[in-house]
């Protein structure tokens, strides 16, 4: 349980600062520090046990499907890191309290910092690969917030985004690699994975998994060629750099190398990839640390260099090298955090970090100077300090490596060169900042930082000295435990001491220090040489690349989505044509078993008319009225065909629908532009004709194939049960209102919504209304022709009577609510056409929406009614009743349902047509009227 506390307390700590405010800064810092402090105490309580060899573990099942458990462990490796994270973290909290200015939002800063601390603790304690990955990405996200904390600075925003993109990419690669490992081993449990080196190394997926994991580790730890984000992340406030970019975040990568060392190391691939990357990074970073001018950038490149050193050590496939690497992690964290804080103090007190402007600060800040000198000496590998010890171990290890075979002598030579550079840039950092004359061009007169701000540096400097002087006493215990965990076997015996006698590593150390001094003295030559290279700003390069990418994608999307409906339709039609055509090609013979019906002259004539009218519709599409008439001919022929093939219901419906749609289209014609747009290009016409012909051909073939095949369907059931179960002789109607009444209910809902939707659309529509045609002839003044008016008026009662008749007979003979509704609607619409909206509305003073909606309501409630009798929704009931004077009448609940259909059809149709008609009338508010 205490393990969970170590991770969760800082998480809780990220919420606490928000309880405080920016004004009460002490309280805010104390609140923040409380939780990590408790976590540190909890860890310290566990420490003796861990050093004695226990490995406290804890596991809750979380997502079995993902292989994710909430599993934590505290082995030696975790312990080393937890102590570093919490210990340095607490110092950073203290430091940040005095570093941040009044303008900075302190609670927010602490919240981000604690979130980061939590995720870092999670990485080092995770006992499950997926859990590790989750915390891993969380460090990228929280560091994004921290780097971009001073969000008003462009460099901070860009630096944050660059860091996120690079480490985020590495994190995604890491996920892939970890999943591969999990699939090789069969579990994501850390211990099992660590124990499965032989299985992993033998698997063909080892190399891809290794590459992916290394990509994750190298991006995080800023290894070459991904080192570029780290210097740009220096836009972060200095406490962030001191914490993230010395002790924690960038150490996550090398931590991963140490953590997975037992599972992945030992192969040639590992040896070459890891150690050579580390070596290159070490040299690259050291060189640029010597060149750069900004204090924090110098430190950032030195961090890159030291991380390279550690990476190289983990790559060497030697147990002692791993120990050395772990030792250097500890040492680097202490001196580098301290150095960053001194850089922060200088920045804070002088207002600049430019090494050209800073000089001779020892006069103003002697304490800081002393602390910086001690820690920088440790960084240089000066004897009696901790950096010396691990550097010497490193040099000793490079002598042993089998890397590069016959050229193995190169490794120690290059390592020594790296050390020379390290000594040189350390010296430069201290001398150029704190000594060497007097400061110039400073914005403010520097003075010593307040004691609380120096305290964290002091603590770390003391740690450097203690480890440096008494390594066996202070570091052996924890280091051995950590090494045991990183090697999953007892580490080689460790003899940490200052003096190992005269040997080769000592000589190399001496060369490094003396060489460093000489390089420093001769540095101007180096600078002159370096000026020949064009300066490259990785931030600008990255930003430029992203912007090019964005522009490229914009070009791509704009080209693809050009806003042309024709193109979008084309894709749909092509897709449909492709799949159906392909399927048809798989059929041997299109014709089925049934004989083809003989064509009689009547059919041939009908078909010919239909074809002609169809073609005419297409060809005359520029003469819209004629085209529309031709279209109505097609519709009429369709209804005749229905009638010819014994489908009277369909014929009636088709006819009524045809009338209504043609009226609708006529109304719409009025609003179309008078001049038709340009004719399509010839190639486009060819394309469209081919496509249309192809699609028509495919659909015709499908029809032919279907109609010539015998069908064994469920429709027989409907024929049998229409009377007995549905109480009606007209099977079509019984299907509509009973067997599949639910479909009908859905469709009348559609109709109703369509009416309402069109009202919604037209309600606010303002259309241009021409007063004359394209040739300037005014519209006929005879708006409401006399003959039409009188005929329509006399037709109305008859039409209504017919619709009632059609409605009532519907259940047993062709007819029904749908057709009746359309007939009524057409009759009423005729009134509108003949007399105008104004006239009609005075007489038909009711709203259509309630009619349409209540139709749906009646149909629905009819269905719900069957619940009262214990039947499912829409169960019908019918019976024969004897009514005096009228006689035997068959009544069915289906009739009530049909009434709903009728009302909806009338209401919705009129809503659509009347609203469309209304747009044309003077009724609508025009601009002139509004002005008046």
């Amino acid at each position: 349980m205490s393990l969970l506390l170590i991770v969760l307390l800082p998480l809780l700590g990220s919420l606490l600062p928000s309880l405080s405010s920016n004004q009460r800064r002490h309280q805010c810092a104390l609140l923040t520090a409380a939780m990590p402090l408790i976590a540190l105490l909890v860890t310290l309580r566990e420490t003796p046990g861990v050093i004695a060899g226990e490995v406290p573990r804890l596991a809750f099942s979380w997502v079995p499907a993902l292989g994710l458990d909430l599993a934590l462990r505290l082995d030696g490796l975790s312990l080393l890191f937890v102590l570093l994270i919490l210990g340095i973290g607490l110092l950073i909290i203290l430091y940040a309290r005095h570093y941040l200015s009044e303008a900075d939002n302190m609670p927010r800063f602490y919240a981000y910092l604690m979130l980061f601390m939590t995720s870092m603790l999670g990485i080092v304690m995770a006992d499950n690969l997926i859990l590790l990955w989750m915390f891993w990405e969380l460090t990228s996200l929280s560091s994004f917030l921290l780097i971009g904390f001073w969000s008003h600075q462009s460099a901070a925003r860009k630096g944050a985004r660059m860091a996120l993109a690079v480490t985020g990419m590495g994190g995604l690669a890491l996920l892939a690699g970890l999943i591969l490992i999990g699939q090789i081993v069969g579990t994501f449990d850390m211990q099992t994975v660590l124990d499965s080196r032989d299985v992993i190394l033998a698997d063909p997926r080892y190399l891809p998994a290794l590459l992916l994991i290394l990509l994750g580790a190298f991006t995080k730890s800023a290894q070459f060629p991904f080192q570029f984000w780290l210097p740009q992340a220096m836009a972060a406030p200095t406490p962030v750099s001191a914490f993230l970019h010395s002790a924690t975040m960038v150490k996550a990568g090398v931590f991963l190398l140490a953590r997975l060392h037992p599972a992945l190391a030992g192969s040639q691939e590992w040896l070459y990839l890891v150690s050579l990357t580390g070596l290159v990074t070490m040299l690259y970073g050291a060189y640029f640390a010597l060149i750069k001018l900004d204090l924090k950038t110098i430190l950032a490149y030195s961090t890159v260099s030291h991380l390279g050193l550690i990476t190289m050590l983990f790559g060497l496939n030697s147990q002692m090298a791993v120990v050395a690497g772990l030792f250097h992690i500890l040492n680097h964290a202490t001196f580098k955090a301290a150095l960053f804080m001194t850089a922060g103090i200088v920045d804070h007190e002088c207002g600049t970090r430019d090494i050209r402007k800073l000089k001779g600060l020892w006069r103003y800040m002697p304490m800081t100077t002393a602390l910086a000198a001690i820690t920088a000496a440790s960084m240089a590998g000066f004897p009696l300090l901790n950096g010396f010890l691990s550097k010497e171990m490193m040099l000793a290890e490079t002598l042993e490596t089998p890397l590069l075979g016959g050229l193995a002598w190169l490794i120690p030579v290059l390592a020594t060169i790296g050390s020379i550079l390290a000594a040189a840039y350390s010296l430069r950092y201290v001398r150029n900042t704190f000594f060497d004359g007097k400061p110039r061009e400073l914005e403010k007169t520097p003075h010593e930082a307040s004691f609380p701000m120096r305290l964290p540096v002091l603590v770390l400097a003391i740690v450097c000295i203690i480890i440096g002087l008494f390594p066996a006493f202070s570091a052996t215990g924890i280091l051995t435990t950590a090494a045991d965990a990183a090697l999953t076997m007892p580490a080689p015996e460790l003899h940490l001491s200052i003096w190992h006698g005269f040997n080769l590593p000592l000589l190399m150390s001496a060369i490094a220090l003396i060489g460093g001094f000489m390089v420093y003295v001769l540095r101007q030559h180096l600078f002159t040489f370096h000026r020949q290279f064009p300066s490259r700003n990785s931030l600008a390069i990255f930003e430029g690349a992203v912007q090019r990418l964005v522009r490229f994608t914009q070009w791509g999307i704009d080209t693809l989505e050009n806003g042309s409906l024709q193109r979008y339709m084309l894709w749909v039609v092509i897709s449909a044509l492709a799949v159906s055509g392909m399927s048809l090609m798989g059929i041997e013979t299109l014709k089925g078993e049934l004989a083809v019906q003989k064509a009689d002259p009547l059919l041939i004539v009908g078909a010919a008319i239909t074809c002609f009218a169809g073609l005419a519709t297409a060809f005359l599409h520029r003469r819209r009225l004629i085209s529309l008439i031709m279209l109505s001919v097609v519709g009429l022929m369709a209804s005749l065909a229905f009638a010819r093939f014994s489908a009277p219901d369909l014929a009636l419906t088709q006819l009524a629908v045809e009338v209504v749609t043609v009226i609708l289209l006529m109304l719409a014609l009025f609003f179309l532009p008078q001049k038709t747009p340009k004719e399509s290009s010839a190639s486009r016409i060819v394309r469209d004709v081919l496509l249309a012909a192809g699609f028509g051909g495919v659909v015709a073939s499908l029809n032919y194939a279907l109609l010539t095949r015998p069908l064994n369907s469920i429709s027989d059931y409907f024929l049998e049960h229409s009377v007995s179960g549905g109480g009606g002789h007209n099977v079509v109607n019984v299907i509509l209102v009973d067997f599949r009444g639910f479909d009908t209910l859905g469709e009348i809902t559609v109709l109703c919504i369509a009416g309402i939707g069109i009202y919604k659309l037209l309600n606010r529509l303002r259309l241009f209304m021409p007063s004359s045609d394209s040739e300037g002839r005014p519209w006929s003044p005879d708006r409401y022709p006399m003959i039409l008016a009188s005929v329509s008026q006399s037709l109305l009662p008859m039409a209504l009577l017919v619709s009632v008749f059609i409605f009532l007979r519907g259940h047993n003979a062709p007819g029904g609510g749908f057709i009746a509704g359309l007939v009524t609607a057409v009759a009423l619409i005729l009134m509108y056409i003949a007399h105008g909206v104004e006239w009609a509305q005075q007489r038909l003073s009711f709203q259509y929406q309630p009619i349409a909606v209540s139709g749906v309501a009646i149909a629905t409630l009819t269905g719900v009614g069957s619940w009262a009798f214990g039947y499912p929704f829409l169960t019908s009931a019918f019976g024969h009743f004897h009514i005096p004077l009228i006689g035997d009448v068959e009544l069915a609940t289906a009739m009530l349902f049909d009434l709903g259909v009728y009302l909806t059809v009338v209401g919705a149709t009129l809503m659509i047509l009347a609203n469309l008609g209304k747009v044309t009338t003077s009724h609508r508010p025009s601009k002139q009227k509004e002005k008046a």
């Binding site: 997502v63 079995p64 971009g148 993109a165 994608t553 693809l560 897709s575 799949v579």
Partner: protein, 503 residues
């Protein structure tokens, strides 16, 4: 309760009708009625999910006509899940809409309920023609809602939307004609039984019908190259409607899963799994295109629309992977992406309202009135959509990555992870521009409680789905198992048909 299964259709229908009978009327009353009805729908959804967990497949025979002759509504784990998901998303969107978006045009609340009716019906029905009907209901309702508030951009995008979808409806009808003409039934369970006994001479025809259906569903789901209606329509829709539309593509996804596991699944002989290869490659292409779109977006709404396209591609690829594990993973991802992308649409609108003239465009502007809460929600939503831990998107993606076979890994991993990286780069740019590059005094109106509640409700699903990832994945895995157990489905519907099924 016997009639529970049909309530997700009837409840919104009755509420919708009641709200539509009169166009005018007190706004507060309408809002209350709509919210109460939607809450009731959430309750019904929860009950249905609870009922489905015993792995029995229940059906409701409308009109008491037994399958395969009548229309049935089928309750299994998947349909229950989808209905509940819809209702939760709807509640969040509706709360947001009640802060004022509903007043921008007429009949908002009634149409909103009818939209829910259409969506729920599509999820529940066990009849292919009935599915067509509900497709129509949800299409026409969504078109009307898309037009809500009016404006040139909406009219334009809406026309493309409705025209393409009507073309889809036509293809749907052709496909239904072919399938009924060869199989003689449109009850899905019955079709599943009939498909095993098909005459070899009819196979090509059935295949044509089945693949045409894929075009129709692909159009609904916004699969490449049928996705063109999506970006502009979603970007132009009023925010609460765009949020609700997050479920719309999932109707297509659902239909693909249903039809190509139940009817043309494992057992379908020569037609077995005929859609999966198409869906796999087109899904990957959609995924890649979505990622490109996310990078290219000049406007936050468009960006979220392309994020939806990314999720559609992910889901389709998951279907194409064609395994129980992948199906379970993609269902988890589906819940996540629906709720979070819905929340993001609301959030983006809320942000745009506080940015004055800049609106939703990704350009420098003045400081937001509420940078803290909006920033927090944006950060969470962006992490979840980009698929980074510790939020739900990461879990879904990680499960999908895991369930890929070695051959599938080569394609899925780079594309899925690459799209995640593209989203990360794009969203960090957006967030940085909106929240960090802002300058000047805070102005603009602060969000009301309704807007905050609605948005927060949906965005907070991302952490909640992580906390309860165990039970949720257990449910989706069981759902996947149930989907692939096609015999159990057919038997519980056709066999019980003779004895008279009880709902």
């Amino acid at each position: 309760m016997q009639h529970l299964i049909i309530l997700p259709v009837l409840l919104p229908l009755l509420t919708g009708v009641a709200l539509l009978i009169h166009r005018g009327g007190a706004l507060t009353l309408r809002r209350t009625a709509n919210v109460l009805s939607t809450i009731a729908l959430v309750v019904v959804g929860v009950l249905l999910v609870a009922e489905s967990t015993d792995d029995a497949i229940r059906y409701y025979a409308v009109g008491d006509w037994q399958p395969p002759f009548g229309i049935i509504l089928v309750l299994d784990r998947l349909s229950a899940l989808m209905v509940m998901l819809t209702s939760v998303l709807a509640l969040g969107s509706l709360l947001y809409a009640c802060a004022g978006d509903d007043e921008q045009g007429s009949n908002f609340h009634g149409l909103f309920q009818l939209q829910l009716m259409g969506i729920n019906g599509a999820f529940l029905t066990g009849d292919l023609f009935n599915l067509f009907v509900f497709f129509e209901v949800l299409l026409i309702a969504s078109y009307a809602l898309l037009m809500h508030g009016g404006g040139k951009a909406r009219t334009h995008a809406g026309f493309h939307y409705v025209a393409l979808n009507l073309l889809g409806s036509m293809l749907f009808l052709i496909a239904l004609g072919i399938l009924y003409g060869t199989m003689g039934t449109l009850n899905m369970a019955d079709m599943s039984a009939v498909v095993t006994t098909l005459d070899t001479a009819d196979l090509g025809l059935v295949k044509a019908g089945a693949l045409l259906l894929l075009i129709v569903f692909g159009l609904k789901a916004a699969m490449l190259p049928l996705y063109f209606w999506l970006p502009r329509a979603y970007a132009a829709a009023p925010a609460p409607i765009a949020a609700l539309f997050a479920i719309m593509t999932k109707v297509g996804i659902y239909s693909i899963i249903r039809v190509y596991t139940l009817i043309f699944g494992e057992q379908a002989g020569p037609l077995a799994n005929l859609a999966q290869p198409w869906v796999w490659w087109l899904g990957l292409a959609t995924l890649a295109l979505g990622a490109i779109g996310v990078l290219s977006a000049r406007d936050m709404r468009t960006q979220v629309a392309y994020l939806i396209l990314v999720s559609v591609g992910t889901l389709l690829a998951g279907i194409g992977m064609h395994s129980e594990a992948a199906l379970g993973a993609l269902l988890y991802y589906l819940i996540h992406t629906t709720l979070v992308s819905g929340g993001l649409f609301l959030l983006v609108d809320a942000i745009a309202q506080q940015r004055g003239k800049a609106g939703a465009r990704i350009v420098q502007s003045r400081t937001l009135a509420q940078p803290a809460i909006l920033g927090l929600m944006f950060f969470a939503g962006a992490i979840a959509m980009a698929g980074l831990p510790p939020l739900s998107g990461a879990f879904g993606k990680a499960m999908l990555l895991q369930s890929a076979t070695t051959a599938q890994q080569h394609w899925l991993w780079p594309i899925l992870l690459g799209s995640g990286l593209a989203s990360l780069i794009a969203l960090s740019r957006t967030g940085s521009t909106i929240f960090w590059r802002a300058s000047g005094e805070k102005t603009g109106v602060t969000l009301g409680p309704l807007r905050v509640t609605g948005t927060l409700m949906l965005i907070s699903c991302a952490p909640l789905m992580v906390a309860f990832a165990g039970p949720i994945t257990a449910f989706t895995q069981a759902t996947a198992a149930q989907l692939l157990d096609r015999d159990a489905y057919v038997e519980s519907i056709i066999a019980r048909g003779d004895t008279g099924g009880d709902a």
